[in-house]
């Protein structure tokens, strides 16, 4: 499956399209990021995320802007931008769709899901659909192995996937239907996500649940069997569980091990927000 790991290189990368969206406001935000750190250069990674939120990729103009704000050369910034896989030289679609093909997700079905999506979308790894909606990429482990096979859309979790739920997901994205992460918010655009990574919150932290079924598997079992840490004074909250327990925890034992369904049922919205 080494072909999973190759990147299409037959398409040339536009050096500059001459229509950079970097403005004085962008530069001001870059300076704002730099001011958060004791040494300004620490801001370079978030600044490159900001460039992607404005430009849809890392452009030559974006690199020069970072260099100008931080007093670096363009080469120094390029050296950093080319090291990290989240920085893209080619334009990324509205939705970056990732499929984990590291070992555990791969054997649990990630390889088949990735193959199915390549066919369904008629793109290769790290390529974007003709309509500019979806960029497909295989991912390395995204720290959600207890929900394998895992997909990410604009870095939101999609758990317990199947080839069928995966194709439905990308169809919904292409058709503009609202898509919610089972452990996150309603999916925003890739550029909007990049802005959050640059350190500009979008005010949506309260969407979604505390965790999915797997995150709560051990806790739920401990509650059922009245197990707790010695002294009964663990994290300190178990005694109040019956009055403040969250809906996803109250849903009871994992209903079945049918993949691709149950975690979708956990629906988060602001109605549970207190205070």
């Amino acid at each position: 499956m080494a072909e999973n790991h190759t990147t299409a290189t037959d398409k040339t990368v536009p050096y500059s399209t001459g229509d950079s969206k970097i403005t004085d406001a962008t530069l001001a935000e870059m300076r704002e990021i730099a001011a958060r750190y004791p040494v300004a250069r620490s801001a370079l990674l978030p600044m490159l995320h900001l460039v992607q939120s404005v430009e849809g990729r890392v452009t030559p103009e974006g690199i020069e802007a970072c260099a100008a704000v931080l007093g670096l050369t363009g080469a120094e910034v390029s050296a950093v931008a080319t090291f990290y896989t989240m920085y893209k030289r080619r334009p990324v679609g509205d939705y970056h769709v990732g499929v984990c093909t590291n070992t555990l997700c791969a054997v649990m079905g990630g390889d088949l899901i990735f193959d199915r999506l390549k066919q369904h979308l008629d793109v290769g790894n790290d390529e974007t659909t003709e309509d500019g909606k979806i960029t497909l990429e295989h991912l390395e482990c995204n720290a959600a192995c207890d929900y394998a096979p895992v997909m990410m859309v604009n870095w939101e979790f999609f758990d317990d996937m199947t080839p069928e739920s995966a194709t439905q997901l990308v169809d919904d994205l292409r058709e503009g239907n609202e898509v919610k992460s089972p452990r996150g918010a309603t999916v925003c655009t890739w550029r909007e996500a990049e802005r959050v990574l640059a350190g500009f919150p979008d005010g949506r932290a309260d969407e979604g649940p505390t965790g999915g079924k797997a995150s709560l598997a051990g806790l739920r079992l401990a509650r059922e069997r009245n197990w707790s840490a010695p002294g009964g004074n663990g994290g300190g909250s178990g005694r109040a569980a019956e009055t403040t327990v969250s809906p996803e925890a109250a849903a009871g034992p994992r209903p079945s091990d049918q993949p691709g369904k149950e975690s979708q049922a956990v629906d988060g919205d602001d109605s549970r927000k207190e205070d």
Binding site: A106, L112, A198, N233, G236, G238, S246, D257
Partner: protein
């Protein structure tokens, strides 16, 4: 059997919000800590026996005590939230459900080492976790837990949530520091250790998320309470993450020293109709174990005694439907991709390992190639700045030790004898539903 402490508030409504966290005693430990001398906070964590939960198991309090307080430079705390070791999935759910547990730990730890700024370096690929961290830090600032003169103690601290950009190597602490300084994430030669010359050349403590999140409850309930759990040299409770071919995968918080047999029993056992074939105790960089090792205590010493490492307690369960050669090849491709390229044995070695394994998986090889692979592994291990390449060789050497016959079967078969469909979750969806 299970001891939910860090995960104890994960079923509370809006557990990620300050109001919810405070309702369950949140930030009480910070008040306790701020009434103590910083050195006494360090001593409490030392006495608890807490060891680093990021893989290496170094005593946390001792790490803090290495910070030279007579050094006039600023001190920094850096939280390693770059969770990306294959199989590891404990810090992400912790920060998603209860980011304030981490933030409270950050303030206490920073006070203990007298840091002026703390950074939470979180991998960039977890958008919603980053949102929750950003909000938690802001809430803590608004409540006076972060900022100038915290709770009237005279102590000042700033906390920055910093998103990475996709590089496994940045989970290595010195590569993380280079990345946080706005550079390519490449490891540094040690010594000097970060405690002496870390971020910006200043004294720096780098701790894993779970280590720092364990600090508030130690201050709250005491070092003796913490060390009453666990085994002789591995104290306290910890998050075990079960994934793969197990009936109820997920997070199981238990005292150190529980066995995989016990955990599998709690999680409903291996996938119905199948047998356990191999597993990782703590991520893909820890040598594979088999069903022979079901009763090994999962603490630092127990797992070490059978030639592996506790690592991140990422228990990836693979049943008899999985081809070990395919699994190992995929991990090796991962290490090749993630090698930062600084050290030749790792950069070139992982490349060669993939070449050979690809050939073996296709059945094009002989027993002599296995000897070649092991020779290559020996020449790679221990010859780089960091442990990435050592991790790359772990699954190869251990799989050949345990499953040599399966490699040979590929040669005899002229290819992989396994059906890749059989290992998928959808292969059994009909049977278990």
């Amino acid at each position: 059997m299970l001891t939910p402490v860090l995960s104890d508030n994960w079923d509370q409504i809006n557990a990620w919000q300050l109001s919810s966290y405070q309702r369950t005693g949140g930030y009480d430990a910070l008040r306790t800590a701020l009434r103590m001398e910083p050195a006494d906070v360090v001593a409490a964590v030392k006495d608890s026996g807490l060891r680093g939960r990021g893989g290496a198991g170094f005593p946390t309090g001792m790490k803090w005590s290495f910070i030279p307080q007579d050094n006039p430079k600023p001190k920094y705390l850096v939280v390693n939230a770059d969770e990306s070791e294959p199989g590891t999935c404990k810090d992400i759910p912790l920060m998603m459900a209860s980011p304030h547990t981490l933030v409270e730990g950050v303030v206490i730890a920073s006070y203990a080492i007298r840091a002026s700024v703390a950074f939470i370096y979180v991998r960039g690929e977890v958008l919603h976790v980053i949102r929750r961290l950003q909000q938690a830090v802001q809430e803590a600032k608004d409540a006076g837990y972060i900022g100038q003169n915290i709770l009237g103690s005279g102590y000042d601290l700033d906390v920055v949530v910093h998103a990475g950009a996709g590089a496994y190597i940045c989970g290595e602490e010195t590569a993380l520091l280079d990345s946080l300084e706005g550079r390519r994430g490449q490891p540094r030669l040690r010594p000097p250790f970060p405690a002496v010359a870390g971020l910006y050349g200043c004294p720096t403590v780098i701790n894993n998320v779970e280590s720092i999140a364990s600090v508030p409850v130690i201050l709250k309930n005491g070092a003796d309470w913490f060390s009453s759990m666990g085994t002789e040299k591995s104290k306290g409770m910890t998050l075990y993450s079960l994934s793969g071919h197990v009936t109820r995968p997920g997070q199981y918080e238990a005292p150190l020293g529980i066995t995989l047999r016990e955990l599998l029993d709690l999680a409903g056992g291996v996938r119905e109709g199948h047998q356990l074939k191999f597993w990782t105790p703590g991520g893909s960089s820890t040598p594979l174990l088999t069903s022979e090792h079901l009763d090994v205590p999962l603490d630092y010493e127990g797992v070490g005694s059978v030639g592996s490492m506790l690592g991140t307690k990422a228990l990836q369960i693979f049943d008899d439907s999985v081809c070990v050669v395919r699994a190992v090849l995929r991990w090796t491709e991962f290490y090749k991709h993630e090698s930062c390229g600084k050290c030749t044995p790792c950069r070139e070695g992982t490349w060669w390992l993939v070449q050979i394994l690809e050939r073996l998986e296709k059945g094009q090889g002989s027993e002599a190639d296995l000897a070649e692979l092991l020779d290559l592994c020996e020449n790679i291990t221990g010859r780089s700045f960091c442990a990435l390449a050592d991790g790359a060789t772990a699954p190869i050497a251990s799989s050949i030790a345990h499953f040599k016959d399966e490699y040979l079967a590929h040669f005899e078969n002229g290819g992989c004898p396994f059906d890749p469909m059989a290992s998928t979750v959808f292969a059994t969806a009909g049977a278990s539903a």
